[in-house]
């Protein structure tokens, strides 16, 4: 592959697509698949064939368009008409209407905050490119950033751009990506590794899956750039086995990139070589922790080990290793293409760029959104999310999964960035955002997360293994109406202990859901303990009096 060839592929593909007068994009990401997106795509392709329009109309499968609640989604270019809740029976009407106006009964209003308020960087190709076609990605400026790095930048200059962008790790902790890269690059070793953490274990977060399913090449390109910057020639992508479509699309993408010479030896005729292997997770939440993930790639149980040494010094097989999250890598190509300063102009002072959130729970528009950092929770939930359905009342929003916390109504106007969320007792996490209304009992929510941490604890260190078990027992007792004030005090004491003495992030952050609900919804705990009643009528308290909600 030469630079000229890359340009040619892009131009040819663009022409190939533009020769069709109409282009129908059908979402075939996992969300829409579960509402029948694949069948809609088949029906549309068949309908186009029956009406003899194959030369004028292209039907292609694309990645997630975001509004999963209204899936399957179909968008028709060049008019940008979006249809929602499409069934295979609607195919005839959609194809018939190509030359006239849109099918009114299926139309999804694109002039609504859900679409207008989003700023897309990571998801810019989602819903546009066919994830199974590398040419489509190249036509969307794909691999241009890698070419630019290899031909115009020294590794140091690449790191400089990432540093300037202010990008921080999107996996949860928010460590500055550029610093991590420069740390690994400075370690002297002829064997280094790049690892992409796609073990999206947080229940309620599905942004990494969407990126891997809808735009896999973006992640490969980011990893290759990282490899060049730190001096590694081998990378691993660690993906959950629960994401079969992401695995399939990644395998295809890696094969295509190798075939075109965009991965492999001497990329673009330079001395830089880079290969990527896929490794499957096997359903262990703790493997999201970097040292546990490394153990898993090495074929062992996913038990974390104490740090330091950090993976940057001694990671995979004892060699310097760079680990970043899927979304972090997906940000790299646009940063290189447009410059670090461009990225740094988006977001807040300390949290730059955009963040993808998975909006779920009791909110009207569930789905995937990408918003600039600094947006308020209220804007996300009530404007983009469309508010709480069924006339219910907002109660809390849970961010950061089992390591995060519940944020009550009074803080809805806080900006979303790493520091503000931390101040509220929650974390950014990987970007799951679960909205709860008054039908949720916060003590039960805390118990739910503790049950999760208890069963996901790897068992290596005592505070986490025994502490999460004990905390769960206490919460169980409280939700059954058998708790006492002493239990509450014991619970708080345990939270403090587990937080401060656990070996890895799983244990250290496992008390967060309890601590944040204790902080903001203490009265609910008290009514369970003192009044023996569950205000939300969720907990089955034996012999309790009914509470009028």
């Amino acid at each position: 592959m030469t630079p000229e060839e890359l340009g040619e592929i892009a131009a040819t593909q663009e022409q190939n697509v533009l020769q069709y007068k109409h282009r129908i994009h059908v979402c075939t990401a996992a969300g829409c698949l579960s509402s029948g997106g694949d069948k809609v795509r088949e029906a549309l392709a068949k309908e186009v064939a029956t009406q003899g329009l194959e030369k004028q109309c292209l039907v292609k499968g694309v990645g997630c368009m975001g509004l999963c609640a209204k899936g399957p989604l179909v968008s028709v270019k060049p008019n940008n008409v979006v249809y929602q809740s499409v069934t295979p029976d609607d195919a005839a009407d959609i194809v018939k209407s190509l030359n006239d106006g849109p099918v009114k009964r299926l139309e999804c209003v694109t002039e609504q905050p859900f679409f207008r308020r989003q700023v897309k960087i990571v998801l810019e190709n989602s819903g546009r490119v066919d994830p199974e076609k590398i040419e489509d990605y190249i036509a969307a400026n794909g691999y241009e950033a890698l070419l630019k790095c290899l031909t115009e930048f020294s590794p140091g200059e690449v790191i400089e751009q990432v540093l300037r962008s202010g990008l921080r790790g999107r996996g949860g902790a928010g460590y500055p990506t550029g610093l991590k890269w420069s740390m690994v690059s400075k370690v002297d070793s002829d064997r280094k590794y790049v690892i992409c953490n796609g073990d999206e274990g947080d229940p309620g977060a599905f942004m990494d899956r969407s990126v891997l399913e809808g735009d896999p090449h973006r992640v490969l390109e980011g990893m290759a750039i990282a490899g060049y910057a730190i001096g590694a020639s081998h990378g691993y992508i660690y993906v959950r086995a629960e994401y079969p479509l992401a695995i399939k699309n990644l395998k295809t993408a890696i094969r295509q990139a190798q075939h075109m010479g965009l991965l492999g030896a001497n990329i673009f005729g330079t001395t830089f070589s880079f290969n990527i292997d896929l490794r499957l997770g096997a359903g262990a939440f703790v493997c999201g922790e970097e040292t546990a993930l490394i153990a898993s790639i090495e074929g062992r149980r996913g038990s974390p080990r104490p740090r330091p040494p950090y993976p940057a010094q001694a990671g995979l097989w004892g060699e310097p290793t760079l680990i970043n999250n899927v979304e972090t890598f997906a940000n790299i190509a646009p940063i290189i293409r447009n410059g670090g300063d461009w990225f740094a102009r988006i977001g807040t002072e300390k949290s730059k760029g955009t963040k993808v959130f998975a909006l779920a729970g009791r909110v009207a528009n569930t789905g995937l959104i990408e918003v600039p950092m600094g947006i308020t929770l209220r804007e996300i939930i009530f404007e983009i999310g469309g508010g709480i359905p069924d006339g219910r009342r907002f109660k809390a929003v849970q961010t950061g999964g089992p390591s995060g916390g519940c944020i009550p109504e009074e803080f809805l106007d806080m900006p979303v960035d790493y520091e503000s969320l931390k101040k509220l007792g929650s974390i950014m996490g990987s970007g799951g955002m679960i909205v709860m209304d008054d039908t949720s009992c916060m003590v039960d929510v805390a118990k739910f997360f503790m049950e999760f941490c208890k069963s996901e604890s790897c068992g290596k260190c005592v505070p986490c293994r025994v502490g999460t078990y004990q905390m769960h027992e206490l919460l169980e007792r409280i939700t059954e109406g058998n708790g006492s004030a002493k239990d509450l005090a014991a619970l708080e004491e345990l939270c403090d202990l587990v937080q401060n003495t656990s070996l890895c992030g799983l244990g250290q952050s496992s008390p967060n859901p309890v601590l944040s609900t204790l902080r903001y919804f203490r009265e609910e705990y008290q009514s369970h303990v003192e009044g023996k009643a569950c205000p939300a009528n969720v907990c089955q308290i034996h012999g309790a009096k009914e509470v009028v909600a």
Binding site: A30, S34, C68, A69, P203, A284, G299
Partner: protein
Amino acid sequence: MGTSFRKPVAPSQDKRWRIVDATMRRLGNESHALIEALHTVQESFGYLDPDSLRYVANTLRVPLSQAYGVATFYHFFTLKPPGKHTCVVCTGTACYIKGAGKLLHAVEDKLGIKPGETTPDGEVSLMTARCLGSCGLAPVAVFDQQISGLMTPEATLEKVGRWKEHDA
């Protein structure tokens, strides 16, 4: 070290062992191929039995205890044969908020089994998943690899009931 190593013989003549062999060979029969090899065994045979664990461990030259440790550490691996049909109820946060517990209780009551168990006639296995990533359509359940969103207890029972009828 130094002693010659002879690759063990597959537990049976079953052709599926060749797929397992291919996975291990692709990774150089190295110890780090353990998880990938177990994935292939489970994909080919449905579960991991003691023979397959022993075979994989011996081929990759890892202690059987390590292979067993890995197989039991990760939730994805199962040591019991699955039923003819599987029903997976997602118990992730979004599904929990939207009532996954009710789905699960409905199926538990109907089949008389707990998550991780199979009906005595070997027909249906009930499982739970941590999160299937279809949170936008919560609550979700998977029936024989087919994922369905926005489930109700009634719809879930209907799907499970259909298996029972067909086989009766």
